[in-house]
Assembly symmetry: C2
Homo-oligomer: 155 residues x 2
């Protein structure tokens, strides 16, 4: 194995961020399966985000949960069929949009999942110290803001 001193892709910060993101997703789905939660990670993030904003239209939600519009619509269809959200017509800037909010059942399932998750995560060894995590959050925030100027997300 010969290692060159030139920068290679796998040594860049882009690679490290993608790698870490994959770890996060794997770990997240593994935890959701292990705990037998009746929601996927994406569904949980969706319910949690709706609960944060109260009422929100689909496109705004799509931007928040990092999905495109069709994927967001499909996730919402499933949550709707299972009675966790209701969708209703509303307006945003005088424009007709489809907004949604949590139902009583949606709130209950979200609270239940949150409770189980919090208990589980509290018993995990801490990955970073508080200070290190603050540093990471700050650095990645700066980096993301730099990228935002260059990239077109088209959602």
């Amino acid at each position: 194995m010969k290692i060159s001193e030139e920068t290679h892709y796998i040594n860049t910060v882009y690679y490290k961020i993608e790698q870490t993101a994959k770890y996060c997703r794997h770990l997240g789905t593994q935890i959701f399966e292990k705990l037998r939660l009746p929601l996927t990670l994406d569904e949980f993030a969706t319910l949690d985000t709706i609960s944060l904003y109260g009422e929100i239209c689909q496109r705004d939600l799509a931007k928040l949960i990092l999905k495109d519009r069709p994927s967001t619509g499909r996730i919402l269809n499933s949550l709707d069929e299972r009675g966790f959200i209701t969708r209703f017509a509303d307006t945003k800037n005088n424009r007709l949009v489809r907004k949604m909010k949590l139902t009583k059942e949606g709130n209950e399932i979200l609270e239940k999942a949150l409770k189980i998750l919090r208990e589980y995560l509290a018993n995990l060894p801490q990955v970073l110290s508080d200070e290190e995590r603050d540093n990471l959050e700050h650095s990645i925030q700066m980096f993301k803001q730099g990228l935002e100027k260059e990239v077109e997300m088209n959602i």
Copy 2:
């Protein structure tokens, strides 16, 4: 819009990392298309990683390029058909494996892509200062190492 003070998923470091990773991937593919490079981002990363290691077996490569074994095999099939790599039988721990290395054409296309990329990236506004980027690399490295103990990647 009511904002609660509780932590919500979209405020966690997991979310921020996934978000930033998506930006990286979008930006990467957009640049590769804009520059009309004859490789995709994944193909470039594959060639670049093979060139770094010289000779490597598929499974080890899969771990490095963050793909599973089938996806890695398919990327390699395509690079093989286009004459950028050759594959040959070899042994690793007395076990028969399929290794690969770059062909002359593979080296040329990689160098050409690297040259175009370097020129383009040199003219982009710097996203982070050197110090900030070092901080980010260090923080995310620590975080990744913490996650590695908890997550099973199965590649």
